[in-house]
Each structure stands twice: as structure tokens, then as C-alpha cells.
């Protein structure tokens, strides 16, 4: 009995001690997509990877808050985010450090931080997902602004704009349109009885079940619905109007004063490689930012999509400015 107690006590304190050849990564990217990449890294480099994943229940903000709380004694080496906004939040709080990458030199500068504190790769886009049983082809909205028209009243959903990629999308709309027009657009959406779902996954679920005709979500959620055999379609909005669809790259950054700097660099290089982008294209329909990456036929190329022309840093600043407005808008 005493031996058992002793072993338990030892297990409590030493089970997770650090070793030399390891790297610690926190990620807000869904585990189902990020884990296979990280396991491949472990196999290929021999560097042990220790990961902290995030959950839908905490709106994928758990690891970000953990990184902020751990600022004075960082435990994490690399943060792999599903969008650049979170890495910009960390940069603004002085939690990231610069790492200039040769491997990312052919990635468009729009998707990189000017101070090299974060770098984008494999992008998702905001799309409209619609239920084919609930909507005729000619009725499908082509622009995000169509959603304010009477024919869509009470027939569409968005995720809570206080969290995740919907916040990012709304901040981008504010940046692109200016505050006055954007506020009018949001007021019109509310007037048109927009349904506010709890998450993008919830939007997808409601559209798949036919509870609602269409909704705004991310390409990976929409792609998942198609893979599950749902009778839904996807539209990249505002391609004709030129306003464009929001493109959201993954972003990776190195944590300042992290415990395993050299291994962190190896991991960041690995994540930014063409091979990783090819894997993410295959597993979750993400669009590569490198040129010449082999992608499945059903994955659109960024060359064929008109993007919203935004500066991610400015959008991040805008996001902080409009949070109170969005909170009131949701209420």
C-alpha cells in the first residue's frame, strides 16, 4: 500500500517533466486536422511533440487565454492558430518573438507579419453554405449584402460574432466598408431576423438539418458537411461584386522566452512547408499559400478567388474597437 502511494506521488510530480529533444505546441486548430500533421513531424524529425489542443466549448480561446496567463513563465514554444487574429493579439501583448523564415519567402506578404512575429500558411475562406432542398439554385445569395433582402428574412444564420472567425469576418467588413456602412449592414441583418448560432459548427448543423436555409461558415466546416454526405452546397460570396470573400490563413508564431527555441524553429519550418499545406488541403480543404502545391481537384485555388482586400493588422485593431458594439448588437 505504501509503495502504491509513493508511486502515485512520484507520478503526480514527474510524469510530465521536460526532455531535451521535444517541442511544446499549443494549437487552436481542430485536433482532428492538426494532430496527424504533428504526429508526422514527430516521426520525421524524431523530436517529441507535446500538444495542448483547444475545444469548441471554450470557443477555441482556451489556449490563447492560457498563453496570456503563462506570459511571465512561458511553457509553450510554438502557437499554431487557425487565424492570424489570435497571433496578433499575442504579438500586441508582447508574447511572441520574431523568426524570419526562408521557407515562407514565396508566400504573399499580406499573409505575413512585417516584424516576422507570425507567418500565415494554408488558408480557409468564409463561405455561404446552403441546403439544396431548401433553396433553388437561382435563389442562392451571391453577395453577403443579399442577406439583408426580404426574400432571405429569417432564413439564414451566422455564428455568434463575439467569437472565432465570425468576429474576424465582421472586423474585416468594418475595415473594408468603414464604420458607418458596416453598422448599417449589421442593423439590416438584424432587421432581417438573422439567426445567431453558437458556432460555425452549429450553423453547419442547422443548414444540414434543414432548420435554416443557409448560413455563413468556414470552408472546413462546409467541406466536412459535404464529406458526411449532406445535401448542401458552398458559395464564395461577392465574387462578381468584387468585394471578395474573406481569406483566413492559419498562422504560426514562436513564443518569447520559450523553453525549446531550436526545436520550435524546426517545427515552424515544418508547418510552413509545401508538404504540410498539401496535407491540410487534403484533410480539411485548406488552400495553400505556397505556389505549386499539389491539391485535390475539389479544392479551389486562391488564384481563382477574389479575396477581401484587408490588412490583417488593421483588422485586428478594428476588432478590438468594435467588440463592445458587437456585444450590444448580439444582445
Amino acid at each position: 500500500m505504501r509503495k502504491l502511494i509513493l508511486i502515485s506521488i512520484i507520478a503526480l510530480f514527474v510524469s510530465c517533466n521536460n526532455s531535451q529533444k521535444e517541442v511544446i505546441v499549443y494549437t487552436s486548430v481542430d485536433q482532428i486536422f492538426s494532430e496527424p500533421i504533428l504526429k508526422d513531424f514527430e516521426k520525421e524529425t524524431g523530436i517529441k511533440i507535446k500538444t495542448v489542443f483547444d475545444t469548441e466549448e471554450t470557443k477555441s480561446t482556451g489556449v490563447l487565454n492560457r498563453l496570456i496567463a503563462e506570459k511571465d513563465n512561458p511553457q509553450c514554444d510554438v502557437f499554431w492558430s487557425g487565424d492570424p487574429i489570435r497571433t496578433i493579439v499575442l504579438k500586441n501583448k508582447g508574447i511572441t518573438t520574431a523568426y524570419k523564415l526562408e521557407i515562407a519567402k514565396d508566400i504573399n506578404s499580406v499573409f505575413k507579419d512585417k516584424d516576422n512575429e507570425w507567418t500565415g500558411f494554408s488558408a480557409r475562406a468564409r463561405v455561404l453554405i446552403y441546403n439544396k432542398d431548401s433553396m433553388n439554385k437561382e435563389d442562392i445569395p451571391k453577395s453577403i449584402f443579399d442577406l439583408t433582402k426580404p426574400e432571405y428574412k429569417g432564413r439564414f444564420a451566422i455564428a455568434n460574432p463575439l467569437f472565432g472567425t465570425t468576429t474576424f469576418h465582421f472586423a474585416a467588413i468594418f475595415t473594408a466598408l468603414g464604420d458607418e456602412k458596416a453598422k448599417q449592414f449589421l442593423a439590416d441583418l438584424k432587421q432581417n431576423n438573422v439567426l445567431i448560432a453558437t458556432s460555425n459548427g452549429d450553423v453547419k448543423k442547422r443548414v444540414v438539418s434543414g432548420e435554416i436555409a443557409c448560413g455563413l461558415t468556414d470552408t472546413d466546416d462546409a467541406n466536412e458537411a459535404i464529406n458526411e454526405g449532406a445535401n448542401v452546397g458552398i458559395v464564395f460570396l461577392d465574387q462578381e461584386s468584387g468585394f471578395g470573400s474573406l481569406i483566413m490563413p492559419n498562422a504560426v508564431c514562436m513564443i518569447k522566452n520559450s523553453p525549446n527555441k531550436e526545436n520550435a524553429k524546426v517545427l515552424i519550418d515544418y508547418l510552413l512547408s509545401k508538404e504540410t499545406e498539401a496535407k491540410l488541403a487534403k484533410s480539411c480543404a485548406q488552400m495553400p499559400l505556397h505556389k505549386g502545391v499539389e491539391i485535390p481537384e475539389n479544392i479551389p485555388s486562391l488564384d481563382n478567388i477574389i479575396p477581401m482586400r484587408i490588412d490583417y493588422n488593421k483588422t485586428s485593431v478594428k476588432l478590438e474597437e468594435i467588440q463592445d458594439y458587437l456585444k450590444n448588437w448580439v444582445e
Binding site: 502515485s8 510530480f13 510524469s15 510530465c16 481542430d30 482532428i32 487565454n65 496567463a69 513563465n73 456585444k327
Partner: protein
């Protein structure tokens, strides 16, 4: 003297490991944060309206759970009904499943039956789900008190009057501390519950705290708002104490006095009630999960099993060690509170604040180079569990201790029996059902805990609820439901094992 030193050392350890992180965090918000005055200004009318809404929600859920929990516990622990042992276990099932997953299952059920989920995505839906989730907790607390009643008192009552009057006039007054504990615990749980209201899109005080925390990254304001929850819960406990100080407590059943079971004159209504409750709280979500899990065949079920197998050992280890320490801490605090001075409010400070805020407090306190040996291992999770759930344990054990006649302890003292012998040979055997109930509740809560664990789990480790919830995002529904079913089955198996061991221990005594 020796006794006092031991008590003091344990209290110092509790305060240092569990309470100090919260006090440190609150202190840093008041004195170390330049945005304190700005945050105070953000505490507007809406904040207090949301607080009132949360209080209404918590009061309603606590009232319902205590009411239904009392009826169910009376049926299961005081009457002769078929399969009572099986039902005692099966009715606990909602406690094994995360409230969030249950909310998803009920929402899916409403959509399947009514074609939309508007009815459940409301204040009513939150009350319904939380009532179903927390009623098993009431059953356990009230059931454990019912098992402890001296059957001679009931028998004397039955000589003079009817069974119903015995229940109203003798049994219910006897278990008053348990009824109030059940109300208070569920009230606090409902007040600090976040996932169900958030999932149903119902704005309450905790969702407000969460958005300050997760959308605005304003930790200071979130902690400041959490202070209101602490103040309310401590006030509730003080009110309870004032009320209970006037209440009289009667004796526990002594060794050799068995718990009497009574035959109902008209069992149809009670059986019908049990069946309806079983269908709504257990069968319905279980069937929804089952249908979803196997909607694509068995492939995803086996995939879920493969994903979860690596988590079993660590999750069991953590929940088991956690539950043992929780019962120990609960016993020490309860014993001290009953004998000397009420100190359980110390544990309430941690119990009342939302899990994520407690998680942040532990990070801020323990994430120092000198304390890395705690922070980078499993010890930090155990501290989280002990902090979060010791209050429940203390409350349950305190009720049982109050039912023991002081004369027993006094007689042992006169006979010069040492303090440790009195505890081992008199106290513990008499409160064994309460200790076991406390262990089971602590184990169930620890094995399913998410809010603190997600903030603290060491990188690279695999823990059951974390795995379920991190896989949940973007995974097929069948995989998520399969994982929930597996978690639930494994937990049920473990609890059954504990019941088996408990029965053996009880028989030997």
C-alpha cells in the same frame, strides 16, 4: 496539542494550495491592475440584470432538483421497489455525461420530434437540462442522509400515525440538512454553469463573464465579476448557517440498526413516476447518442475507442487520487466545522467561481520557475479538482457528522480512547455511506471535469474529457457520440466497481 498541530497544518496546506491562488488573483486585480477603475465602470445595470437572471435560474433549478431528488430518493432508499439497486445506479447516469453533451442530445431530440429546437433553445431549456443533470446529485445527497436515519425513530412514528405523516413529520425534518445542502450545492452549480446557457444561446451572468474573458481577453473584469458569485454564495451559506443553527438534528442509525424499507400501498403512481423520470433523464439522451453513434455503422465507434484507450489510465488515476484527497479534505474541514468552528466557507470561495477563472488563478500562482514541479505535472490538475470539489465533499460529510449523537464521542473520551481511534473506530464506520457518496460524487465530477483541466493539462498528456471535447470540433457526429457513449460506459463500469468494493467493506464491518 498534537491534534491542533495536525489540524492547523492541514488547514495551512488547504489555504496555500487551494485558496491562496484565488486570493492572489483577486488581490492583483484590485491592487496590481491599472485598468481597475475602468473595469468598475463596466459593471453597469445590464451586468446586474444578468446577475438577477442567473439567480432566478439557479433558484428554479435548485428548487426543482431538490423537490424531484427528494421524491426519487424516498422511493429508492425508503420503499420496497423492484430493482432499486439497479435504479440507484442508472439514475446517476446524467451525472456521468457532460452537461454540454446532454444539451446537444436534447436539442437534437427536440429537432427530431418537433422539427425545430426553438422550444429548448430558451431559458426553459436551460432549466430543463440543468434540472435533469443535477437531480442525481440531490438523489445521492438525500439518499445518503435517508440511509443514516435511525429506523427506531420511524418505527415509533409508524405505531402512532400513517406512513405519509411519518415522512412529513419525522423523516423530512430529520434530513433537513441534506435537503438544504442539496439546494445550496445545485444552486451554486447552476449559478456558475456556463456551457448549457451558452449552447442554448441564453445570456446569463456566466456567459457575460466568459465573453469578457474570451472575446475581450479582459481577465481582470472577468475576475471582478466572479467576485459577485463568491459574495452571493458565501452569503447563502451564512444564511443557511443562521437558519440551521436553530434546527435540531436527530441521531444516525447505530451499528446493527438496519435501514427499514416500507411497502407502498399504491405503487402504480410511484412506479409510473420512476419510469417517466428514467425515460426523460436517461433513456432519451442515451437513445439519441446511440442512434447518432451508429448512424454510419460501427467504424466510428471503433475509431472512438482507439482514440480514447490511451486516456483511460491517466483519467482514472487522476480522478481516483483526486477523489481520495477530496474526501480527506472534506472530512477534515467537516469534522473541524462540526466540532469547533464553521470553516467550510473557505472552500466555498473556490467552488463559487467559474472553472476557467479558477484555472487562470492557478496558472498565475503556480506558473513560477520555483513551482514548475507542480505546474508542469499532473499535480496541478489534482489541485484544481480538490479546490473545485472539496466543498461538496465537506457539505455531505458535515451532514452525516451532525447526525451522530455527541454522547457517543463523549463516552469514548471518558473511556480514554484516543482521538485517532475515535475517528477510525467510531466516526468513520458511522458515516461510511456519506464518505462513499462523497467519493463517488468527487470521482464523477473529477473524471468529467473540463473547465479547469483544459486550462491546466500538461502538454502532451491525454485525459478523457479533453480528448472528447478537442476531437468534437469538426469531427463527424457519430464519432463524438461514440466517444460520449464510451466515456459513459467506462465511468459506469468504474462506479459499479466502487459500489462492489463498498458493499464488501460494509459487509465486513
Amino acid at each position: 496539542m498534537k491534534k491542533n498541530i495536525l489540524n492547523i497544518s492541514i488547514y495551512v496546506a488547504i489555504i496555500f494550495f487551494i485558496i491562496l491562488p484565488v486570493i492572489y488573483t483577486i488581490f492583483s486585480v484590485f491592487f496590481g491592475d491599472s485598468s481597475f477603475l475602468e473595469n468598475i465602470k463596466l459593471l453597469d445595470k445590464n451586468t446586474f440584470l444578468l446577475l438577477a437572471k442567473s439567480l432566478l435560474l439557479a433558484f428554479t433549478v435548485a428548487s426543482f432538483t431538490t423537490f424531484f431528488g427528494t421524491i426519487l430518493a424516498l422511493l429508492l432508499y425508503k420503499t420496497k421497489i423492484h430493482l432499486s439497486n439497479f435504479l440507484k445506479l442508472v439514475l446517476l447516469i446524467p451525472l456521468f455525461i457532460s452537461p454540454y453533451i446532454l444539451a446537444v442530445a436534447y436539442k437534437d431530440f427536440f429537432f427530431l420530434v418537433f422539427g425545430n429546437s426553438n422550444l429548448i433553445s430558451s431559458f426553459f431549456g436551460v432549466i430543463l437540462v440543468l434540472t435533469l443533470v443535477f437531480t442525481p446529485l440531490s438523489i445521492l445527497i438525500i439518499g445518503s442522509a435517508l440511509s443514516n436515519i435511525n429506523s427506531q425513530i420511524e418505527e415509533s412514528g409508524l405505531i402512532l400515525t400513517s406512513f405519509n405523516r411519518v415522512i412529513y413529520k419525522i423523516v423530512l425534518p430529520l434530513i433537513k440538512p441534506a435537503l438544504i445542502s442539496s439546494f445550496i450545492l445545485v444552486f451554486i452549480f447552476s449559478l456558475s454553469e456556463f456551457s448549457v446557457p451558452a449552447f442554448f444561446g441564453v445570456k446569463v451572468f456566466t456567459t457575460e463573464i466568459f465573453s469578457r474573458f474570451s472575446a475581450f481577453y479582459n481577465h481582470s473584469l472577468a475576475i471582478l465579476q466572479s467576485l459577485f458569485l463568491i459574495i452571493i454564495c458565501v452569503s447563502l451559506l451564512l444564511a443557511d448557517r443562521k437558519y440551521l443553527s436553530k434546527a435540531s438534528f436527530l441521531a444516525i442509525g447505530n451499528k446493527g440498526t438496519k435501514n427499514n424499507l416500507y411497502k407502498l400501498k399504491n405503487p402504480i403512481i410511484s412506479n409510473l413516476f420512476l419510469i417517466i423520470w428514467l425515460i426523460i433523464s436517461v433513456a432519451l439522451p442515451f437513445i439519441v447518442l446511440f442512434i447518432q453513434a451508429f448512424s454510419d455503422g460501427t467504424t466510428n465507434f471503433f475509431k472512438a475507442l482507439e482514440l480514447l484507450i490511451p486516456t483511460f489510465a491517466s483519467s482514472f488515476f487522476l480522478a481516483f487520487i483526486g477523489a481520495i484527497i477530496i474526501v480527506f479534505v472534506g472530512f477534515i474541514v467537516a469534522n473541524y466545522s462540526v466540532k469547533y468552528k464553521k470553516t467550510d466557507w473557505v472552500l466555498l470561495i473556490v467552488f463559487a467561481i467559474p472553472s476557467t477563472i479558477y484555472g487562470i488563478s492557478l496558472i498565475k500562482f503556480y506558473n513560477q520557475p520555483s513551482l514548475n514541479f507542480i505546474y508542469s505535472g499532473y499535480a496541478i490538475i489534482i489541485i484544481g479538482y480538490v479546490g473545485k470539489f472539496s466543498f461538496i465533499s465537506a457539505k455531505i460529510i458535515e451532514n452525516a457528522l451532525k447526525q451522530i449523537p455527541k454522547s457517543l464521542d463523549e463516552a469514548a473520551q471518558i473511556a480514554s480512547i484516543s482521538n485517532s481511534s475515535r475517528i477510525r473506530k467510531i466516526l468513520i464506520p458511522l458515516i461510511l455511506p456519506a464518505l462513499f457518496a462523497s467519493f463517488i460524487i468527487s470521482f464523477i465530477f473529477s473524471i468529467g471535469e473540463l473547465g479547469i483541466t483544459i486550462m491546466l493539462y500538461p502538454p502532451g498528456t491525454e485525459i478523457m474529457p479533453i480528448k472528447v471535447f478537442t476531437i468534437m470540433a469538426n469531427a463527424p457526429q457519430s464519432l463524438t457520440s461514440s466517444m460520449t457513449l464510451i466515456v459513459f460506459s467506462v465511468s459506469l463500469l468504474m462506479i459499479s466497481g466502487f459500489y462492489f468494493v463498498f458493499k464488501i467493506i460494509k459487509r465486513r464491518r
